[in-house]
Protein backbone atom coordinates (compact mmCIF):
# COMPACT_ATOMS: atom_id res chain seq x y z
CA UNK A 1 0.00 0.00 0.00
CA UNK A 2 2.57 2.52 1.08
CA UNK A 3 4.20 3.04 -2.28
CA UNK A 4 6.50 5.73 -0.92
CA UNK A 5 8.63 3.14 0.82
CA UNK A 6 8.64 0.58 -1.97
CA UNK A 7 12.04 -0.76 -2.93
CA UNK A 8 13.65 1.65 -5.38
CA UNK A 9 13.58 -0.70 -8.35
CA UNK A 10 9.96 -1.66 -7.87
CA UNK A 11 7.24 -0.17 -10.03
CA UNK A 12 4.53 1.75 -8.28
CA UNK A 13 1.66 -0.58 -7.54
CA UNK A 14 -0.95 2.15 -7.43
CA UNK A 15 -0.60 3.54 -10.92
CA UNK A 16 0.16 1.11 -13.69
CA UNK A 17 1.09 3.80 -16.15
CA UNK A 18 2.80 2.27 -19.10
CA UNK A 19 6.51 3.01 -19.21
CA UNK A 20 6.51 4.96 -16.02
CA UNK A 21 7.62 3.65 -12.72
CA UNK A 22 6.55 6.67 -10.72
CA UNK A 23 3.30 8.50 -10.33
CA UNK A 24 1.50 11.14 -8.40
CA UNK A 25 0.81 8.84 -5.48
CA UNK A 26 4.43 7.96 -4.97
CA UNK A 27 7.60 9.57 -3.93
CA UNK A 28 8.38 11.00 -7.35
CA UNK A 29 11.77 9.42 -7.61
CA UNK A 30 11.11 6.46 -5.36
CA UNK A 31 13.93 7.38 -3.06
CA UNK A 32 13.55 8.04 0.62
CA UNK A 33 16.63 10.24 0.65
CA UNK A 34 14.76 12.71 -1.52
CA UNK A 35 11.93 13.04 0.96
CA UNK A 36 14.20 15.07 3.16
CA UNK A 37 14.86 17.80 0.63
CA UNK A 38 11.58 18.00 -1.22
CA UNK A 39 9.08 20.84 -0.98
CA UNK A 40 5.82 21.61 -2.72
CA UNK A 41 4.80 24.51 -4.92
CA UNK A 42 1.46 25.20 -6.50
CA UNK A 43 0.52 27.32 -9.46
CA UNK A 44 -2.83 28.48 -10.77
CA UNK A 45 -4.17 27.67 -14.20
CA UNK A 46 -2.56 30.01 -16.73
CA UNK A 47 0.41 30.89 -14.53
CA UNK A 48 3.88 30.60 -15.97
CA UNK A 49 6.10 28.36 -13.85
CA UNK A 50 9.21 29.56 -15.64
CA UNK A 51 10.19 31.34 -18.85
CA UNK A 52 12.68 29.95 -21.33
CA UNK A 53 16.09 31.43 -20.59
CA UNK A 54 15.35 32.22 -16.96
CA UNK A 55 17.48 30.86 -14.19
CA UNK A 56 15.96 27.65 -12.92
CA UNK A 57 17.11 26.77 -9.43
CA UNK A 58 15.07 23.61 -8.99
CA UNK A 59 13.94 20.39 -10.57
CA UNK A 60 10.71 18.63 -9.80
CA UNK A 61 7.75 16.53 -10.82
CA UNK A 62 4.14 17.40 -11.46
CA UNK A 63 1.96 15.89 -8.75
CA UNK A 64 -1.49 17.00 -9.83
CA UNK A 65 -2.76 19.01 -12.79
CA UNK A 66 -1.31 19.62 -16.22
CA UNK A 67 1.51 21.85 -17.41
CA UNK A 68 3.09 22.35 -20.81
CA UNK A 69 6.55 22.94 -22.20
CA UNK A 70 6.50 25.36 -25.14
CA UNK A 71 8.88 27.04 -27.56
CA UNK A 72 8.10 30.31 -29.30
CA UNK A 73 9.60 31.86 -32.42
CA UNK A 74 10.20 35.61 -32.64
CA UNK A 75 7.07 36.09 -34.76
CA UNK A 76 4.92 34.37 -32.17
CA UNK A 77 4.50 30.92 -33.70
CA UNK A 78 4.54 28.52 -30.79
CA UNK A 79 4.97 24.78 -30.52
CA UNK A 80 4.35 22.71 -27.46
CA UNK A 81 7.24 20.31 -26.96
CA UNK A 82 6.17 18.59 -23.79
CA UNK A 83 2.92 17.80 -22.04
CA UNK A 84 3.50 17.41 -18.33
CA UNK A 85 0.99 15.14 -16.68
CA UNK A 86 1.20 13.89 -13.09
CA UNK A 87 4.49 12.06 -12.44
CA UNK A 88 6.39 13.85 -15.22
CA UNK A 89 9.75 15.33 -14.41
CA UNK A 90 10.72 18.94 -15.13
CA UNK A 91 14.16 20.45 -15.22
CA UNK A 92 17.58 19.34 -16.11
CA UNK A 93 20.35 18.54 -13.71
CA UNK A 94 23.50 20.17 -15.02
CA UNK A 95 21.87 23.12 -16.72
CA UNK A 96 20.95 26.28 -14.90
CA UNK A 97 18.59 28.05 -17.28
CA UNK A 98 15.24 26.75 -18.48
CA UNK A 99 15.19 25.78 -22.16
CA UNK A 100 11.42 26.12 -22.55
CA UNK A 101 8.48 27.99 -21.16
CA UNK A 102 6.72 25.93 -18.51
CA UNK A 103 3.08 26.93 -18.16
CA UNK A 104 0.37 25.54 -15.90
CA UNK A 105 -2.75 24.86 -17.98
CA UNK A 106 -4.75 23.78 -14.95
CA UNK A 107 -4.05 24.41 -11.28
CA UNK A 108 -1.03 22.30 -10.50
CA UNK A 109 0.99 21.08 -7.56
CA UNK A 110 4.63 20.29 -8.07
CA UNK A 111 7.08 18.46 -5.90
CA UNK A 112 10.39 20.30 -6.14
CA UNK A 113 14.00 19.88 -5.12
CA UNK A 114 16.50 22.71 -5.07
CA UNK A 115 18.97 21.93 -7.78
CA UNK A 116 22.16 21.99 -5.76
CA UNK A 117 21.06 19.50 -3.07
CA UNK A 118 19.47 17.37 -5.76
CA UNK A 119 22.66 17.25 -7.77
CA UNK A 120 24.73 16.53 -4.70
CA UNK A 121 22.44 13.70 -3.80
CA UNK A 122 22.52 12.43 -7.35
CA UNK A 123 26.31 12.36 -7.26
CA UNK A 124 26.20 10.29 -4.09
CA UNK A 125 23.30 8.05 -5.07
CA UNK A 126 23.83 6.10 -8.31
CA UNK A 127 20.27 4.94 -8.38
CA UNK A 128 18.93 8.44 -8.99
CA UNK A 129 20.88 8.76 -12.20
CA UNK A 130 19.59 5.38 -13.35
CA UNK A 131 16.02 6.34 -12.55
CA UNK A 132 16.40 9.68 -14.26
CA UNK A 133 17.98 8.04 -17.30
CA UNK A 134 15.06 5.67 -17.56
CA UNK A 135 12.59 8.54 -17.31
CA UNK A 136 14.48 10.62 -19.84
CA UNK A 137 14.56 7.74 -22.31
CA UNK A 138 10.80 7.40 -21.92
CA UNK A 139 10.41 11.09 -22.62
CA UNK A 140 12.62 10.77 -25.66
CA UNK A 141 10.43 7.96 -26.95
CA UNK A 142 7.35 10.08 -26.38
CA UNK A 143 8.97 13.00 -28.23
CA UNK A 144 9.78 10.74 -31.18
CA UNK A 145 6.29 9.31 -31.30
CA UNK A 146 5.09 12.89 -31.34
CA UNK A 147 7.43 13.73 -34.23
CA UNK A 148 5.61 11.15 -36.34
CA UNK A 149 2.33 12.83 -35.39
CA UNK A 150 3.63 16.29 -36.30
CA UNK A 151 5.36 15.28 -39.51
CA UNK A 152 3.10 12.72 -41.11
CA UNK A 153 -0.40 12.66 -39.69
CA UNK A 154 -3.49 14.46 -41.00
CA UNK A 155 -5.38 16.93 -38.82
CA UNK A 156 -8.00 14.32 -37.94
CA UNK A 157 -5.36 11.76 -37.03
CA UNK A 158 -3.54 14.35 -34.95
CA UNK A 159 -6.64 15.12 -32.88
CA UNK A 160 -7.41 11.44 -32.45
CA UNK A 161 -3.81 10.83 -31.37
CA UNK A 162 -3.94 13.56 -28.75
CA UNK A 163 -7.31 12.41 -27.38
CA UNK A 164 -5.97 8.89 -27.30
CA UNK A 165 -2.91 9.93 -25.28
CA UNK A 166 -4.89 11.95 -22.76
CA UNK A 167 -7.58 9.28 -22.46
CA UNK A 168 -5.06 6.56 -21.78
CA UNK A 169 -3.01 8.56 -19.30
CA UNK A 170 -6.17 9.56 -17.52
CA UNK A 171 -7.57 6.04 -17.53
CA UNK A 172 -4.31 4.66 -16.16
CA UNK A 173 -4.28 7.09 -13.32
CA UNK A 174 -7.87 6.47 -12.46
CA UNK A 175 -7.38 2.70 -12.74
CA UNK A 176 -10.44 2.37 -14.95
CA UNK A 177 -10.88 -0.68 -17.10
CA UNK A 178 -9.59 -0.18 -20.61
CA UNK A 179 -12.66 -1.79 -22.15
CA UNK A 180 -16.01 -0.07 -22.29
CA UNK A 181 -16.58 3.68 -22.61
CA UNK A 182 -13.88 5.96 -21.31
CA UNK A 183 -14.68 9.32 -19.78
CA UNK A 184 -12.24 12.15 -19.16
CA UNK A 185 -11.75 15.90 -19.09
CA UNK A 186 -9.62 17.65 -21.65
CA UNK A 187 -7.09 19.67 -19.68
CA UNK A 188 -6.22 21.86 -22.68
CA UNK A 189 -7.84 24.76 -24.53
CA UNK A 190 -8.32 24.43 -28.28
CA UNK A 191 -5.39 26.78 -28.70
CA UNK A 192 -3.13 24.62 -26.53
CA UNK A 193 -4.20 21.58 -28.52
CA UNK A 194 -3.34 23.45 -31.71
CA UNK A 195 0.10 24.30 -30.32
CA UNK A 196 0.56 20.69 -29.38
CA UNK A 197 -0.33 19.41 -32.85
CA UNK A 198 1.05 22.09 -35.14
CA UNK A 199 -2.44 23.19 -36.25
CA UNK A 200 -4.62 26.27 -35.88
CA UNK A 201 -7.31 26.39 -33.24
CA UNK A 202 -9.99 26.59 -35.94
CA UNK A 203 -8.82 23.31 -37.46
CA UNK A 204 -8.78 21.70 -34.03
CA UNK A 205 -12.33 22.81 -33.44
CA UNK A 206 -13.51 21.59 -36.84
CA UNK A 207 -11.89 18.18 -36.45
CA UNK A 208 -13.33 17.70 -32.98
CA UNK A 209 -16.75 18.54 -34.39
CA UNK A 210 -16.18 16.01 -37.17
CA UNK A 211 -15.16 13.24 -34.75
CA UNK A 212 -18.26 14.05 -32.70
CA UNK A 213 -20.50 13.93 -35.77
CA UNK A 214 -19.00 10.58 -36.78
CA UNK A 215 -19.64 9.10 -33.34
CA UNK A 216 -15.98 8.56 -32.47
CA UNK A 217 -16.38 10.73 -29.38
CA UNK A 218 -19.25 12.26 -27.44
CA UNK A 219 -19.04 15.52 -25.55
CA UNK A 220 -20.72 16.94 -22.50
CA UNK A 221 -19.89 20.64 -22.52
CA UNK A 222 -16.64 21.78 -24.10
CA UNK A 223 -14.14 19.81 -22.10
CA UNK A 224 -15.80 16.62 -20.90
CA UNK A 225 -15.38 13.74 -23.33
CA UNK A 226 -16.71 10.21 -23.62
CA UNK A 227 -15.00 7.71 -25.87
CA UNK A 228 -17.47 4.89 -26.54
CA UNK A 229 -14.89 2.74 -28.31
CA UNK A 230 -11.22 3.25 -27.60
CA UNK A 231 -10.22 0.89 -30.42
CA UNK A 232 -12.08 3.04 -32.91
CA UNK A 233 -10.35 6.17 -31.63
CA UNK A 234 -6.92 4.57 -31.98
CA UNK A 235 -7.78 3.45 -35.46
CA UNK A 236 -8.65 7.06 -36.29
CA UNK A 237 -5.28 8.04 -34.86
CA UNK A 238 -3.56 5.79 -37.36
CA UNK A 239 -1.98 3.64 -34.65
CA UNK A 240 -1.94 -0.12 -34.48
CA UNK A 241 -4.85 -0.87 -32.17
CA UNK A 242 -2.54 -2.74 -29.80
CA UNK A 243 -1.23 0.66 -28.90
CA UNK A 244 2.23 1.90 -29.66
CA UNK A 245 1.83 5.17 -27.84
CA UNK A 246 4.50 6.09 -25.42
CA UNK A 247 3.37 8.83 -23.16
Amino acid sequence: MNAAVAAPTQKCTECPIRHRAVCAHCNPLELQELDEIKYYRSFEAGQTVIWAGDKMGFVGTVITGVATLTQTMEDGRTQMVGLLLPSDFVGRPGRDTAAYNVIATTDIVMCCFRKKPFEDLMARTPHIAHRLLEMTLDELDAAREWMLVLGRKTAREKIASLLSIVARRDASIAKKATVGPLVFDLPLTREAMADYLGLTLETVSRQISALKKDGVIEMQGKRHITVPDMGRLMEEAGDDADGGFLV
Copy 2:
Protein backbone atom coordinates in the same frame (compact mmCIF):
# COMPACT_ATOMS: atom_id res chain seq x y z
CA MET B 1 46.17 14.92 -27.64
CA ASN B 2 45.16 11.44 -26.74
CA ALA B 3 41.54 12.15 -26.02
CA ALA B 4 40.78 8.49 -25.36
CA VAL B 5 42.47 8.69 -21.97
CA ALA B 6 41.09 12.05 -20.96
CA ALA B 7 39.59 12.22 -17.50
CA PRO B 8 35.99 11.05 -17.68
CA THR B 9 34.43 14.39 -16.88
CA GLN B 10 36.54 16.33 -19.32
CA LYS B 11 35.13 17.44 -22.64
CA CYS B 12 36.83 16.20 -25.75
CA THR B 13 39.40 18.70 -26.85
CA GLU B 14 39.35 17.63 -30.46
CA CYS B 15 35.76 18.24 -31.33
CA PRO B 16 34.07 21.22 -29.77
CA ILE B 17 30.60 20.09 -30.70
CA ARG B 18 28.07 22.09 -28.81
CA HIS B 19 26.34 20.14 -26.03
CA ARG B 20 28.32 17.00 -26.72
CA ALA B 21 31.25 15.89 -24.71
CA VAL B 22 32.16 12.96 -26.91
CA CYS B 23 32.95 12.64 -30.57
CA ALA B 24 34.22 10.33 -33.23
CA HIS B 25 37.81 10.85 -32.20
CA CYS B 26 37.30 9.79 -28.63
CA ASN B 27 36.44 6.71 -26.74
CA PRO B 28 32.70 7.06 -27.26
CA LEU B 29 31.81 7.04 -23.60
CA GLU B 30 35.09 8.37 -22.32
CA LEU B 31 35.67 5.38 -20.10
CA GLN B 32 38.65 3.11 -20.35
CA GLU B 33 36.69 0.22 -18.88
CA LEU B 34 34.59 0.21 -22.02
CA ASP B 35 37.60 -0.24 -24.25
CA GLU B 36 37.82 -3.80 -23.13
CA ILE B 37 34.38 -4.83 -24.33
CA LYS B 38 33.99 -2.73 -27.43
CA TYR B 39 34.01 -4.02 -30.98
CA TYR B 40 33.47 -2.41 -34.35
CA ARG B 41 30.87 -3.06 -37.03
CA SER B 42 30.51 -1.47 -40.41
CA PHE B 43 27.53 -1.17 -42.69
CA GLU B 44 27.23 -0.08 -46.30
CA ALA B 45 25.14 2.83 -47.46
CA GLY B 46 21.53 1.75 -47.65
CA GLN B 47 21.93 -1.20 -45.32
CA THR B 48 19.54 -1.59 -42.42
CA VAL B 49 21.34 -1.85 -39.11
CA ILE B 50 18.22 -3.07 -37.34
CA TRP B 51 14.46 -3.13 -37.88
CA ALA B 52 11.97 -1.75 -35.39
CA GLY B 53 10.76 -4.58 -33.20
CA ASP B 54 13.79 -6.80 -33.76
CA LYS B 55 15.83 -8.03 -30.87
CA MET B 56 18.73 -5.67 -30.30
CA GLY B 57 21.60 -7.26 -28.44
CA PHE B 58 23.94 -4.31 -28.45
CA VAL B 59 24.27 -0.59 -27.90
CA GLY B 60 26.82 1.62 -29.61
CA THR B 61 27.87 4.89 -31.14
CA VAL B 62 28.33 5.99 -34.71
CA ILE B 63 32.03 6.58 -35.41
CA THR B 64 31.97 7.64 -39.06
CA GLY B 65 29.16 8.15 -41.56
CA VAL B 66 25.49 8.91 -41.09
CA ALA B 67 22.57 6.73 -40.04
CA THR B 68 18.93 7.49 -39.43
CA LEU B 69 16.22 6.42 -37.00
CA THR B 70 12.83 6.13 -38.69
CA GLN B 71 9.27 5.18 -37.86
CA THR B 72 6.82 3.90 -40.46
CA MET B 73 3.03 3.75 -40.41
CA GLU B 74 1.20 0.77 -41.89
CA ASP B 75 0.38 2.70 -45.04
CA GLY B 76 4.04 3.53 -45.66
CA ARG B 77 4.23 7.11 -44.41
CA THR B 78 7.59 7.40 -42.73
CA GLN B 79 9.11 9.95 -40.39
CA MET B 80 12.71 10.19 -39.43
CA VAL B 81 12.97 10.63 -35.66
CA GLY B 82 16.72 10.70 -35.26
CA LEU B 83 19.72 11.66 -37.35
CA LEU B 84 22.79 9.80 -36.17
CA LEU B 85 25.99 11.66 -36.89
CA PRO B 86 29.42 10.67 -35.60
CA SER B 87 29.44 10.43 -31.77
CA ASP B 88 25.70 9.78 -31.48
CA PHE B 89 24.55 6.92 -29.30
CA VAL B 90 22.20 4.15 -30.46
CA GLY B 91 20.28 1.71 -28.34
CA ARG B 92 18.66 1.70 -25.00
CA PRO B 93 19.93 -0.03 -21.94
CA GLY B 94 17.03 -1.81 -20.32
CA ARG B 95 15.06 -2.53 -23.47
CA ASP B 96 15.72 -5.53 -25.64
CA THR B 97 13.92 -4.71 -28.88
CA ALA B 98 14.64 -1.80 -31.19
CA ALA B 99 11.94 0.87 -31.20
CA TYR B 100 12.90 2.31 -34.61
CA ASN B 101 14.45 1.30 -37.89
CA VAL B 102 18.13 2.17 -37.93
CA ILE B 103 19.40 2.65 -41.47
CA ALA B 104 22.85 3.57 -42.74
CA THR B 105 22.52 6.39 -45.28
CA THR B 106 26.24 6.42 -46.00
CA ASP B 107 28.83 3.75 -45.27
CA ILE B 108 29.18 3.78 -41.51
CA VAL B 109 31.39 2.39 -38.78
CA MET B 110 29.91 1.83 -35.37
CA CYS B 111 31.54 1.14 -32.06
CA CYS B 112 29.39 -1.44 -30.28
CA PHE B 113 29.07 -3.06 -26.88
CA ARG B 114 27.08 -6.20 -26.24
CA LYS B 115 24.16 -5.17 -24.13
CA LYS B 116 24.65 -7.52 -21.20
CA PRO B 117 28.30 -6.60 -20.45
CA PHE B 118 27.45 -2.95 -21.05
CA GLU B 119 24.60 -3.05 -18.56
CA ASP B 120 26.72 -4.90 -16.02
CA LEU B 121 29.41 -2.32 -16.37
CA MET B 122 26.87 0.45 -16.13
CA ALA B 123 25.56 -0.98 -12.86
CA ARG B 124 29.10 -1.02 -11.47
CA THR B 125 30.20 2.32 -12.88
CA PRO B 126 28.05 5.28 -11.85
CA HIS B 127 29.79 7.57 -14.26
CA ILE B 128 28.39 5.74 -17.29
CA ALA B 129 24.83 6.40 -16.21
CA HIS B 130 25.65 10.08 -15.69
CA ARG B 131 27.29 10.31 -19.08
CA LEU B 132 24.40 8.52 -20.74
CA LEU B 133 21.88 10.73 -18.96
CA GLU B 134 23.67 13.81 -20.20
CA MET B 135 23.69 12.47 -23.76
CA THR B 136 20.03 11.47 -23.59
CA LEU B 137 19.04 14.90 -22.33
CA ASP B 138 20.90 16.41 -25.29
CA GLU B 139 19.02 14.12 -27.63
CA LEU B 140 15.76 15.11 -25.99
CA ASP B 141 16.59 18.78 -26.55
CA ALA B 142 17.38 18.05 -30.18
CA ALA B 143 14.09 16.17 -30.58
CA ARG B 144 12.19 19.11 -29.11
CA GLU B 145 13.93 21.61 -31.35
CA TRP B 146 12.95 19.35 -34.23
CA MET B 147 9.32 19.34 -33.07
CA LEU B 148 9.23 23.11 -33.56
CA VAL B 149 10.59 22.60 -37.07
CA LEU B 150 8.00 19.93 -37.89
CA GLY B 151 5.05 21.69 -36.33
CA ARG B 152 5.52 25.35 -37.12
CA LYS B 153 8.05 26.03 -39.85
CA THR B 154 7.40 26.52 -43.57
CA ALA B 155 8.98 24.24 -46.15
CA ARG B 156 11.71 26.79 -46.89
CA GLU B 157 12.48 27.24 -43.20
CA LYS B 158 12.56 23.48 -42.74
CA ILE B 159 15.15 23.03 -45.47
CA ALA B 160 17.23 25.90 -44.15
CA SER B 161 17.04 24.40 -40.66
CA LEU B 162 18.26 21.02 -41.85
CA LEU B 163 21.10 22.50 -43.89
CA SER B 164 22.03 24.62 -40.92
CA ILE B 165 22.19 21.60 -38.61
CA VAL B 166 24.27 19.52 -41.00
CA ALA B 167 26.55 22.43 -41.84
CA ARG B 168 27.23 23.15 -38.21
CA ARG B 169 27.80 19.58 -37.17
CA ASP B 170 30.07 19.09 -40.14
CA ALA B 171 31.94 22.30 -39.47
CA SER B 172 32.44 21.40 -35.83
CA ILE B 173 33.89 18.04 -36.66
CA ALA B 174 36.18 19.47 -39.29
CA LYS B 175 37.21 22.26 -36.93
CA LYS B 176 36.62 24.86 -39.61
CA ALA B 177 36.16 28.46 -38.68
CA THR B 178 32.52 29.43 -38.30
CA VAL B 179 32.95 32.64 -40.24
CA GLY B 180 33.41 32.74 -43.98
CA PRO B 181 31.92 30.30 -46.49
CA LEU B 182 31.15 26.83 -45.23
CA VAL B 183 31.44 23.78 -47.46
CA PHE B 184 29.97 20.35 -46.81
CA ASP B 185 28.39 17.28 -48.36
CA LEU B 186 24.76 16.44 -47.82
CA PRO B 187 24.70 12.91 -46.47
CA LEU B 188 21.02 12.45 -47.27
CA THR B 189 18.95 11.83 -50.40
CA ARG B 190 16.08 14.19 -51.14
CA GLU B 191 13.73 11.49 -49.93
CA ALA B 192 15.55 11.12 -46.61
CA MET B 193 15.45 14.90 -46.20
CA ALA B 194 11.72 14.80 -46.87
CA ASP B 195 11.28 12.09 -44.23
CA TYR B 196 13.28 14.20 -41.82
CA LEU B 197 11.19 17.30 -42.39
CA GLY B 198 7.71 15.91 -42.93
CA LEU B 199 7.67 17.02 -46.58
CA THR B 200 7.60 15.31 -49.98
CA LEU B 201 10.79 14.88 -51.96
CA GLU B 202 9.41 17.19 -54.67
CA THR B 203 8.94 20.00 -52.19
CA VAL B 204 12.46 19.43 -50.85
CA SER B 205 13.85 19.68 -54.35
CA ARG B 206 11.89 22.82 -55.16
CA GLN B 207 12.93 24.58 -51.96
CA ILE B 208 16.58 23.71 -52.46
CA SER B 209 16.33 25.14 -55.97
CA ALA B 210 14.75 28.27 -54.55
CA LEU B 211 17.48 28.75 -51.91
CA LYS B 212 20.03 28.28 -54.68
CA LYS B 213 18.32 30.82 -56.92
CA ASP B 214 18.20 33.31 -54.05
CA GLY B 215 21.91 32.89 -53.36
CA VAL B 216 21.48 31.44 -49.88
CA ILE B 217 23.42 28.35 -50.92
CA GLU B 218 25.56 27.31 -53.87
CA MET B 219 25.82 23.75 -55.15
CA GLN B 220 28.49 21.77 -56.91
CA GLY B 221 26.73 18.63 -58.11
CA LYS B 222 23.74 17.33 -56.19
CA ARG B 223 25.24 16.80 -52.79
CA HIS B 224 28.12 19.24 -52.38
CA ILE B 225 27.01 22.52 -50.84
CA THR B 226 28.61 25.88 -50.15
CA VAL B 227 27.05 28.29 -47.70
CA PRO B 228 28.47 31.76 -48.42
CA ASP B 229 26.85 33.30 -45.35
CA MET B 230 25.89 31.11 -42.42
CA GLY B 231 24.04 33.99 -40.73
CA ARG B 232 21.80 34.36 -43.76
CA LEU B 233 21.02 30.64 -43.75
CA MET B 234 20.08 30.72 -40.09
CA GLU B 235 17.88 33.70 -40.70
CA GLU B 236 16.11 31.71 -43.43
CA ALA B 237 15.71 28.90 -40.91
CA GLY B 238 13.81 31.27 -38.63
CA ASP B 239 16.34 30.88 -35.81
CA ASP B 240 17.92 33.64 -33.81
CA ALA B 241 21.22 34.13 -35.54
CA ASP B 242 23.07 33.47 -32.30
CA GLY B 243 22.05 29.90 -32.86
CA GLY B 244 19.63 27.99 -30.75
CA PHE B 245 20.02 24.69 -32.52
CA LEU B 246 20.79 21.71 -30.42
CA VAL B 247 22.03 18.87 -32.55
